[in-house]
């Protein structure tokens, strides 16, 4: 019905335009070609679909993911690996930025029309709970798919586990590393070993010396974002939500410790805040700061500063002082593969994922050297390729170090309302640094999240 109405409008509009500019030569030409073009594309589309349709049922999978140098590359390599035993397999990767994946997913699922979704899509780990809870009908339960989830770090699998069911195959590693400029530390009389397995109070103590002797802060962070806050929280296995999913912001001892530590970093000048991501990367590559703490994917950006080759080393992050369960390990970012409910050939999708991302050490060995795509797949971490020393990082074996860090990350509860809580805490943090009272800011944050949940 709707289609009819629309097409009759179009036809009417076209007809009118033809009549209206009958003698205006320039306009006429383009207006005239118009209907034929439409006719062509309309005629062509069903044909294209007809062609693709039988193939889709058999051996084709469509995937949405972003980053050509990383995820797209890895997916295509996985297809190559899988093709060895399944020569007819066809993989169609559509490069789609994460925000667009989210928008398309939300739009399709909200309108109840899942037919536009691909077979597999890459999802940010932080958004997994939210999307599966909001649109349970849009995803395929992978629990009994034959994929060996035990081969991945438990904290990583937890992101894509909802109500005890597995919805995602972990891929991109977000294990937190502390990166340090050895040349700057040397000037201050330190080595990266002094920063290994330490607490935040020690880190601040050392940072003050570095600042005094070299004039360089140890850290830079994006103002108004709570990345470091979330990393610190998870390093102690804590979260902004309790086990029932209720916001746990007020009277959360770990959170208070985290925020006061962060505020101390800022006030002591060890951490400088910049206004956006580009400036943050700039502080690393132009040598404004002597280090950073972030997900291991930050290595890629650090390496763009070619003149700093050999000057960087990595180690684990500091742990919180006096908090039970505090560790030197955490996670920031990362993503996992989800199979959508629109997947026509779930068996194929499962088999493909099981034999590549969740089953092939060889695959991980291929993708690591050229893309730096680090696995969460535990068996791959033992591979020789992971043990190669990296010249940029002063010949450290960074990849096997990161894999080891990743296996020690405590699990926490992301929460369905993760982004709401994260933003609310970021607001509280900004206000606290500007001088507001921490307790009352946390109360406001808690009530903001509770308000969002009370729909």
């Amino acid at each position: 019905m709707i289609k009819k109405i629309i097409s009759s409008f179009v036809v009417a509009a076209m007809a009118l335009s033809m009549v209206a500019c009958g003698s205006n030569a320039a306009t006429t030409e383009s207006a005239k070609t118009e209907p034929t073009k439409e006719a062509e594309s309309k005629g062509a589309e069903p044909a294209k679909e007809a062609e693709a349709a039988p193939a889709a049922d058999d051996n084709t999978l469509t995937v949405w993911c972003w980053d050509p140098a990383f995820n797209v590359y890895a997916m295509n390599q996985a297809a190559e690996v899988y093709k060895k035993d399944n020569p007819n397999f066809v993989l169609n990767v559509v490069e789609t930025p994460w925000q667009d994946v989210q928008t398309k997913l939300t739009t399709a699922a909200s309108s109840g029309d899942l037919s536009t979704l691909p077979d597999i899509l890459l999802m940010q780990d932080n958004a997994f709970q939210k999307n599966v809870i909001s649109y349970p009908d849009a995803f395929t339960d992978l629990t009994d798919s034959g994929i060996a989830f035990k081969d991945f770090g438990a904290s990583k699998v937890a992101y894509s586990t909802v109500d005890g069911k597995n919805y995602g195959v972990p891929f991109d590693n977000g294990a937190v590393i502390s990166c340090l400029r050895t040349d700057v530390l040397k000037e201050a009389g330190f080595t990266p070993a002094d920063f290994t397995d330490i607490t935040w109070s020690k880190y601040i103590e050392l940072g003050k010396v570095v600042l005094e002797k070299t004039g360089k802060p140890l850290l830079s962070m994006q103002a108004g974002e709570s990345d470091l806050i979330m990393m610190m929280l998870q390093s102690a296995g804590a979260s902004l939500f309790d086990q029932e999913g209720k916001p746990n912001i007020v009277n959360n001892a770990v959170l208070e410790k985290v925020l006061s530590t962060y505020a101390e970093l800022v006030t002591s000048g060890i951490l400088i805040q910049v206004n956006d991501w580009d400036q943050y990367i700039g502080t690393l590559t132009d040598g404004t700061v002597a280090g950073t703490i972030n997900g291991c994917w930050i290595l890629g950006s650090i390496q763009t500063a070619e003149n700093q080759k050999g000057l960087w080393e990595i180690t684990n992050m500091p742990k919180l002082d006096g908090i039970q369960g505090a560790t030197n390990y955490s996670n920031n970012g990362g993503s996992s593969w989800a199979v959508t409910a629109n997947c026509k050939n779930v068996k194929l999708a499962n088999d493909f994922l099981a034999k590549t991302f969740a089953g092939s050490v060889e695959f991980y060995e291929t993708i690591l050297p050229s893309s730096g795509a680090l696995a969460n797949y535990i068996p791959a971490g033992k591979s020789d390729v992971y043990g190669e020393p990296q010249a940029f990082f002063n010949n450290q074996k960074v990849f096997s170090m990161i894999t080891e860090f990743a296996s020690k990350v405590p699990s926490n509860n992301t929460g369905v309302y993760y982004y709401e809580a994260r933003d609310a805490v970021a607001t509280a943090l900004t206000n606290t640094i500007a001088g507001a009272d921490l307790k009352s800011e946390l109360e406001t944050a808690q009530s903001t999240v509770e308000f969002a949940m009370g729909q």
Binding site: S134, Y135, G224, Q279, D423
Partner: protein, 297 residues
Amino acid sequence: MSHPKKNITLQKKQNLFGWAVLMPAVFLIAAMSFYPMIKALILSFETGIGAKMRFAGFLNYTRMFEDKIFLQALMNNFIYLIIQVPIMLIMGLILASMLNDKNLKFRGLFRTAIFLPCATSLVSYAIIFRSLFSVDGFINLLLVKLGILSSGYNFLANPISARAVIIIALLWRWTGYNMVFYLAGLQNIEYSIYEAAKIDGASPFQSFWQITVPLLRPTILLTAIMSTNGTLQLFDESWNLTNGGPANATITMSHYIYNLSFKYVPNFGYAAAMAYLILILVAVLAFVQMKVGDKRD
């Protein structure tokens, strides 16, 4: 039209022609805008997560007035509207009348240069503005050199200066855009009027206020309504320049609606209700502007 002697059937025919030519546009708007708007209106009386919606009456509409972030956003939008729109429109008018001068050299270059900002991609514009206003950015460098500031100031970290940066960015981006319509409108004014006024001894200032502004009134009304609408639906600057920060001090209603739809746990009923509040606000303001400005002499 006042032609009492005209043949009635002829007039009817012309009237019908008027309806006929505006119908394609009206039908398209009905299908592409009004139909989805009605759907959204229905949605605004429902609540729920994702696709699971249930009827909720006016809940969403009362809820938004208890929502601190929304109220903040509403205030921000009005601050931008009240300060930025008048300055922008007057600047646009002044520039247009300057560039309408037939004796001015390099008119084409000036016009293109001033139009450029609105054609500049948001990506680069956001990066540039943020770096210009950063602590060690160009603006701070200038202010320190001139002795106005003793050390760099973080403009984007303070609620008031961050809003000022957004307003400056908006002025930079949209003044040339509005100038285009004034320039186009000015072409419909006989240039000889200006020459006659000049001979009569009118200053440029006088001919601006007494000739340009009244004759451009239909265009000014258009730009005023469009700018009001654009400012109350502002999204790009809040999203790209400040990301709503510091601490929601610059967030706009559209930005919040986007967050509620695509970043947070989706709540489309609530987002639709907010969208309708924007409609009501713009409609009231546009109605007032039409009453004041839409007169046929």
